[in-house]
């Protein structure tokens, strides 16, 4: 979009006039609500210095979150006019200077490291047990190329089930380093969480030795044994060194390696051999060093030499793809295509994405993304009150071990069967154990291998990532539901709009009502408790979402009344637009906003793929992924392919020198 002087001047005047009449009263001058102060942003070029703010302005106006309900509203045409002005301005500014946030170089997290080591050596066993892979597959059901999930699957819950961590085939005596933590509103692959310290580096060195020296590290378990470790038939072993080490380094480092990079390894092994060391032992020493090398441990994009934003290199792209979908190194096919620069071609990129989505290694994606996106690790620490929820407990076990598997199986099915992502919200089927199908019944409660059957959902109040027992339980307290927690979860997970953290000076509501309040509903008590006007901004957004689920008690069981006999009051309006009077209507309201859900999911996927927080420069990519997904019937695989086609995925800003960019995000 080219702006002419006249139009620019008009837009300028329009924005200032709109801001003065609709925004400034609360956001500038005397009052500064929600920490948004527009008094220095009345001119468009002032807004140019803070595109993040501009993006937020567009969002709140578009979603009609602002001005607040009780204030005078702009007319429909006024609103769409000003949105046009801001969007035109945003797009043209971004076009002039699109600088992506850099995903900082980061060491592999524990999950990626374990996968990468397994793939590099083509191990026929796991390196170590990982509780972060929450669901264990006991019936080899995961077969994405079939495009179909079996009717019955056998699964187990690693963190809570019986013996789910031990009988797995792993190396003996190889203990992992600690699990990496998830960033707030993010994933466990973020640069600021993935640093190296002397202690961790020492664990990596230790781990290198333990893996390569493990008893099972032999021709039976190591796929590349003959190609790398085995003493060559050729009497003169030195001859094969260069070729073997070169290939191995290229695979481990995911890039072409220069002869100068191979040299230290060659010299080392020649010296050792000359000194009489055994060939296999020498190669083991090389392998130990390689998997402790920074070129193996760190994920990064090559520097783009100069300051400008460039397309990623084909090898960057191969790594981005494989760490996104396989949580691991690119395979030889990807590296070969990268070497020929083929991977940068659209059709090749798409066909590779298809190939990767058909590969069983896709399990690494479903082992990491959905649990973190849905924050399912929270269910691990859920402990409901024993007196009020006796059937939550099954002897020594908690039924949450069944609960956590249901949304994960739904996610995998939608992906494998390439169904519409909208089915994540409102599916016609679900996978349930006998216990989940009838929690208060007397069916056998499996604690190891648990059969999950595909069942049709007749009662649409249940089903999907929101109304399942896992999410409803983990967003509750031990006795009562926490509507605000549920609302915040919905806002964060479903619509990718995390509320800011609550101020620390607001006390949580006591689980038991105070004397005299016994007859109030939860909402009435909460209203009483929330008196401060500055809380309203956020709570008007998240509370209706949480209260909408009040018919589901702290374990997700249906109820029409509170214990004190009062009717559940769950009515509300979604986004100030869609009224709902019962749980089904709430679900319908959410479905009316399904494109907003798709947009949210696009952001989650892209942020996971890029291992960083998104900012204004990623906005066009989010738009692209959303539009692509909608145009392709919301199919999940199409959505993932749209992620890898997006500019944010294919571009980078990795300047070799320190450059001061236009600040796209200001400290406010």
């Amino acid at each position: 979009m080219v702006l002419f002087g006249m139009a620019e001047a008009q837009d300028e005047a329009k924005w200032e006039a709109f801001a003065r009449s609709h925004c400034l009263e609360c956001h500038g001058g005397k009052k500064v609500k929600g920490k948004v102060d527009l008094k220095d942003y009345l001119k468009l070029d002032q807004l140019a210095s803070d595109l993040e703010l501009t993006k937020n302005l567009i969002e709140v106006l578009d979603y009609e979150e602002m001005p607040p309900e009780d204030e005078a509203q702009p007319s429909k045409s006024e609103r769409s006019n000003i949105l046009g002005v801001l969007e035109r301005f945003f797009d043209s500014t971004l076009k002039e200077n699109r600088v992506f946030a850099q995903s900082p170089m980061r060491r592999m997290n524990r999950f990626q490291y374990s996968n990468a080591v397994k793939d590099l050596f083509e191990l026929k066993t796991m390196v170590f047990s990982l509780p972060e892979r929450m669901m264990r597959d006991h019936s080899q059901y995961f077969n994405p190329s079939s495009g179909k999930m079996p009717e019955t699957v056998q699964v187990g819950s690693r963190p809570l089930g019986k013996s789910q961590m031990i009988s797995e085939s792993v190396f003996q005596d190889v203990a992992p380093f600690p699990q990496d933590l998830r960033a707030e509103h993010g994933f466990d692959n973020r640069g600021d969480h993935l640093t190296l310290s002397p202690m961790l580096l020492e664990s990596f060195l230790e781990l290198s030795s333990r893996i390569v020296d493990a008893n099972q590290f032999n021709s039976r378990y190591v796929g590349i044994w003959d190609r790398f470790f085995k003493t060559p038939d050729d009497k003169n072993a030195v001859n094969v060194l260069e070729q073997r080490i070169g290939r191995f380094l290229q695979r481990a480092f995911r890039r072409p390696v220069l002869s100068s990079e191979i040299q230290p390894y060659l010299e080392f092994s020649r010296e050792k051999l000359a000194a009489g060391a055994h060939f296999t032992e020498v190669m083991k020493a090389v392998a130990k060093a390689v998997i402790a090398s920074p070129k193996f441990l760190y994920l990064y994009d090559d520097t783009s030499e100069n300051a400008s934003t460039t397309e990623v290199s084909s090898f960057d792209l191969a790594s981005r793809l494989s760490f996104f979908l396989w949580g691991s190194l690119p395979d030889q096919t990807l590296l070969d295509l990268a070497a020929k620069d083929e991977l940068l071609k659209y059709e090749v990129l798409l066909s590779q994405a298809d190939r990767m989505l058909n590969d069983k290694k896709l399990k690494r994606f479903t082992d990491s993304f959905p649990t973190q996106w849905l924050q399912l690790e929270r269910i691990i620490s859920s402990r409901l009150d024993k007196d009020e929820f006796p059937f939550f407990y099954k002897a020594r076990y908690r039924s949450s071990m069944h609960m956590m598997l249901e949304p994960l199986l739904l996610f995998e099915t939608v992906l494998i069967e390439n169904r519409s992502v909208i089915e994540l919200l409102n599916p016609s089927f679900t996978y349930q154990s006998d216990w989940l199908a009838n929690p208060k019944g007397k069916d056998k409660f499996s604690v190891g291998k648990i059969p999950f059957k595909r069942r049709e959902i007749h009662d649409r109040r249940y089903g999907g990532i929101i109304t399942n027992l896992a999410v409803l339980t983990m967003t509750s307290g031990s006795k009562e539901t926490h509507p605000i927690t549920r609302g915040a979860w919905l806002s964060t997970v479903v619509f990718n709009n995390p509320p800011p953290p609550p101020p620390a000076d607001v006390p949580p509501l006591p689980e038991k009502p105070a004397a005299g309040d016994e007859n109030l509903t939860l909402r009435e008590r909460l209203n009483q408790h929330r008196e401060r006007s500055d809380c309203a901004g956020c709570h008007d957004k998240i509370d209706p979402l949480g209260f909408a689920l009040e018919n589901f008690d702290a374990m997700g069981m249906w109820r029409d009344q509170y214990e004190n006999g009062r009717q559940i009051d769950m009515q509300g309006k979604l986004f100030r637009k869609h009224r709902f009077d019962n749980a089904l209507e709430f679900k319908k309201a959410i479905l009316k906003e399904k494109d907003r859900f798709v947009r949210g999911l696009a952001g989650h996927l892209l942020s996971f793929a890029l291992a960083r927080e998104l900012d204004a420069s990623d906005e066009p990519s989010i738009e692209f992924i959303t539009a692509q997904t909608i145009s392709k019937d919301y199919r999940f695989r199409e959505m993932i392919k749209a992620v890898v086609q997006s500019t944010s995925f294919r571009m980078k800003t990795t300047p070799a020198k320190l450059v001061q960019h236009l600040p796209s995000k200001k400290q406010r």
Binding site: P104, D192, E206, S209, L258, S260, P294, Y300, A504, D505
Partner: protein, 446 residues
């Protein structure tokens, strides 16, 4: 420090000969014993009326304002005469200090400044030992800089295999909080120095005499790291320094450890069992490991986190209740849980004192105790778990007799004194030559 003959060098000079300690004591006139520093961190503040002399009659606040504002407005103003007073144990939370009274000093009135934009609990822990002035660190929402333990270790850490060690008694299995709630030791902004939290692994790592030698590998990976640099962008090249520093540290460690096997054998430390221990015993097993590391010269600088900040998940304080409790949740209901909370506070002080007593029983070559040669500080990043205030933090200092510190006192700092003033004073006592640390305004007169 640099020119003095450390105990460690002295022992190494003997080349592993089997001289017993009593003979060595004859040299005590010439021997300079190393100075040590320990920071003992307590999460979620304390109940003020149980801890701060003069506030015992204050009513309770169930919640309070953010870190950036001063203490709750509904509280009555208390006159607190600044300056030095004799320490009398009149407060219930401080009772366990009694046996160590002569070696401890209560310091009140020290503040940190809250930087808006991150969680109060996350910031109060991660920035406790750093407290950079707000907004001074660009590209970060945290006022977080190289923490005091590392700044001090830069000066006195090169003598030991480990420049610093970080211990944590975090009991949680669910990984629900981010790193900022769980760590007080940082190499720098965004660069965590992770803590050790499993007694057996710590034992294996620190006291196992049959350690692997990684030198064969380190020379290869260092060559990789050097050629790697060329591929990287400006920001990433900067980050790669962590790798070089890590390798340098490990190589340094291996050299230093070679000369130490005799000393480590003498410790007669048993490998901790992996069975469940009640909370207090668990903390003391960790304290034993840390004290042994300080005593043997594995390190001179250490941090010790008794538990992480916030983390709502309940856990068991066996000594207080047979039901798991959430320290954080209770802290938001002081009026309901005040007795239990004060028990928790007292429990933490008792753990601190038990550790001090262990350090005091260890005699160094000059006849003074390990404690006398150490600056040991108890503290929390919140002045109160309910009000979440960053001002008037609970701080107790112990030991340091050989560095001129006297115990038995209560020092009330004037209003608005930065915590960094105390950190600066400690750094100077330990041999760091600088006149400014983080947001310090001067050196605290302790």
């Amino acid at each position: 420090m640099k020119n003095s003959l450390s105990r460690f060098k002295f022992l190494r000079g003997l080349q592993g000969s089997v001289l017993g300690l009593p003979m060595l004591e004859a040299f005590s006139q010439e021997v300079k014993v190393a100075k040590r520093m320990v920071h003992f961190y307590v999460p979620i503040g304390v109940v003020r009326k149980g801890f701060f002399p003069g506030e015992q009659d204050q009513h309770l606040v169930d919640f309070g304002n953010n870190g950036d504002k001063h203490s709750h407005r509904s509280l009555k103003e208390i006159t607190k005469p600044v300056g030095e007073h004799p320490l009398k144990i009149s407060m219930p939370t401080l009772e366990p200090l009694q046996p160590m009274l002569q070696k401890t000093t209560l310091i009140t009135g020290l503040d940190r400044v809250f930087q808006d934009g991150t969680d109060v609990h996350a910031q109060c822990a991660s920035c406790y030992l750093s407290s950079a002035a707000p907004y001074r660190i660009s590209n970060s929402a945290w006022p977080l800089d190289r923490t005091l333990d590392h700044v001090v270790a830069d000066e006195i850490g090169s003598e030991t295999p480990f420049k610093t060690l970080a211990f944590s008694c975090n009991p949680h299995q669910d990984m629900k909080e981010s790193i900022y709630f769980d760590n007080i030791s940082w190499y720098g902004t965004g660069h965590l120095a992770p803590s050790m939290r499993h007694p057996r692994k710590i034992y294996q790592r620190l006291f196992n005499l049959k350690k692997q030698d990684h030198r064969e590998i380190t020379s290869l990976v260092l060559a990789d790291a050097r050629s790697f640099k060329r591929r990287l962008s400006y920001a990433d090249r900067h980050k790669l320094e962590e790798y070089f520093e890590g390798i340098r540290n490990i190589e340094h460690q291996m050299v230093k450890l070679e000369g130490m096997s005799d000393r480590l054998m003498k410790l007669k430390l048993r490998e901790p069992k992996s069975s469940y221990l009640p909370r207090g015993q668990f903390i003391q097993v960790m304290a034993d490991l840390m004290v042994a590391a300080l005593q043997s010269g594995l390190t001179h600088v250490s941090t010790f986190m008794v538990a992480p900040e916030r983390w709502d998940t309940p856990y068991l304080f066996d000594e207080i209740s047979d039901q798991p409790m959430s320290h954080h949740k209770m802290s938001h209901h002081q009026s309901k849980y005040v007795e239990t909370l004060m028990q928790v506070d007292r429990f933490h002080v008792r753990q601190f004192v038990t550790m001090l007593q262990k350090m005091d029983r260890i005699k160094e070559l000059d006849g003074q105790s390990l404690l006398d040669h150490s600056l040991v500080t108890y503290g929390s990043g919140l002045g109160d778990g309910a009000t979440h205030q960053y001002n008037d933090l609970p701080i107790i200092m112990a030991g340091g007799h050989s560095m001129g510190y006297r115990g038995g006192r209560h020092i009330r700092a004037p209003k608005g004194t930065p915590l960094a003033n105390l950190w600066l004073r400690q750094a100077q006592s330990l041999g760091v030559e600088r006149s400014q640390f983080a947001d310090s305004t001067s050196t605290l007169n302790v």
